[in-house]
Assembly symmetry: C2
Homo-oligomer: 308 residues x 2
């Protein structure tokens, strides 16, 4: 039998990543497309089809070598039925039966899930949550998302909508959140909120990478900004740690590149605010799989889905 491969797709508001992986989840090839240049739904769908054909052929595989296609998606989905409820940051998608549509077009088994859940699955199978019975994987980006591993399984909740730790309120009153809520964690530490504050503090449109490199050089303003983010993230996490008594919190996503100042503040805040038994147990680690976690998680989903 020829070598089998898996196609993994990670759709974000900015990039559409398409990758070819082997059955050990090693990425053999990876392509990046600009999501915003692809247009709306139809543009995206045909770009997915074309990219799959190209990456397969370019690497000397045939369609029959593909075990299946896994998609990590930036919003609430019904993973069982393969339906996209909507994407907060990509317009034009509402209750789309994406699994059915793609299976018809591609003539391949298709699996899909929320990207934060797939990142958690990847970190649990191959990354820094492996071996833990109970884990939270946090993604810090434009949105603040999460995936929970509870009793050694991806926890989905009753509508596959679990893991929205970005929408834990950290104050009774506070800024309005995109979700319609008030004072949600994401309304304080979502990418854009941090950028806006950084701009105020530094007086120009500074990037978060610059803030991080200033913080590494002990710049006081930069350290204060990341310290604030760490305290607010730590505040929400201390409630989750008390509620769920987890083994490990794995933090990934762009903002997690802020480095030690962020992680140290989160740990200090947990020590200060969370309960003793829970705090003694918890580890706080940086995601191991970096920006490939979503692709790897999508491939794991395909492999587990095909074999079950």
């Amino acid at each position: 039998m020829a070598k089998r491969v898996i196609i993994a797709i990670d759709l974000g508001g900015t990039n559409l990543k398409v990758a070819l992986l082997d059955l050990k989840y090693k990425i053999l090839d990876k392509r990046n497309l600009n999501t915003q240049l692809l247009g709306k739904k139809e543009g995206l769908l045909s770009a997915i089809g074309t990219s799959i054909d190209r990456i397969t052929q370019d690497n000397g595989f045939r369609k029959s070598d593909i075990l299946g296609v896994g998609l990590g998606l930036p919003g609430p989905v019904d993973a069982g039925k393969g339906i996209v409820h909507f994407f907060p940051n990509i317009p034009g998608w509402k209750e789309v039966k994406l699994k059915t549509i793609l299976q018809k077009r591609l003539k391949l088994p298709v699996f899909l899930d929320n990207d934060a859940k797939l990142m958690a699955l990847a970190e649990y199978v191959l990354g820094n949550a492996s071996g833990s019975a109970n884990a939270l994987c946090v993604t810090l980006g434009t949105g603040v998302g999460g995936g929970l591993i509870l009793n050694k399984k991806l926890y989905r909740g009753s509508d596959n909508a679990a893991g929205e730790l970005g929408h834990l309120p950290i104050n009774e009153n506070g800024p309005a959140c995109n979700c319609g809520g008030i004072a949600c964690l994401e309304a304080y530490i979502g990418n854009n909120r941090i950028k806006a504050q950084a701009r105020k503090i530094f007086g120009y449109a500074i990037t978060l990478e610059e803030v991080s490199s200033l913080a590494a050089k002990q710049n006081k303003k930069a350290k204060e900004l990341w310290g604030r983010v760490g305290r607010q993230l730590g505040c929400a996490l201390s409630g989750i740690v008390n509620l769920l008594n987890l083994d490990v919190i794995v933090i990934g996503g762009g903002v997690s590149a802020a480095g030690p100042v962020l992680f140290d503040t989160v740990k200090e805040t947990l020590k200060k605010r969370a309960m003793k038994v829970q705090t003694q147990r918890i580890k706080v680690l940086k995601a191991k799989l970096g920006s490939d976690a979503g692709l790897i998680g999508a491939a794991i989903m395909v492999r587990e889905g095909v074999s079950s």
Copy 2:
């Protein structure tokens, strides 16, 4: 074979309840002792032994009819090993191997767990969380505790310490909590905090029962007080609902007797603050089993423990 019975014990900071139940979890007899009159550890242990003998004999059963003894305990315990870590409101207990001690004295199988977990188990098996895959059972009293049913099972966490929803921060800054944390939910809506505020508002040491009966008569101050409690509870619950995507929240414990004003405010707050998919799913119900939930849960634990 003679009819078998179960002994269930619910230890609280105020009362020690001892009950005799049949295998369908019907309470055949129940006794109340004043915890504070029993003295420290040894006094409590011998009171437990004596009460079990008496309630068994008084109802015409023999020791050999007892399937086992289940204890619901007001603090963190290791249910597997049968160890009490400590009781926040009963001094003199620290790392006590209670299961071993009682099994030696009673010559009966002994099972123990945290009372909030047993209340959740009872509501899941016989009460208002039955049939739900994912549920949170909240107890509102001196402490604010909880038990989680996730994927149709009692969720324990890595140290059996899960469920501490009273220690979710609802503000970044705020009052110190008994747990050592800051601005925890319990620091706002624990019994004693509500009583202290009621005393300020009404100008005398009003009981919470009086506040509730005033609220039922549309007294403005009383309704405002319960409204505040409901908003703060709803704030914490909206984060949990977003994170865990539950089917139902069951609320019990003394404070839950406040009635519709409390429940209505919690529901309104969830509607206002929690995410759409999660909010459409969630039901908020009063606990069905009332103050007997802990006893019933303890009996369920015995039956499941003996047969497993």
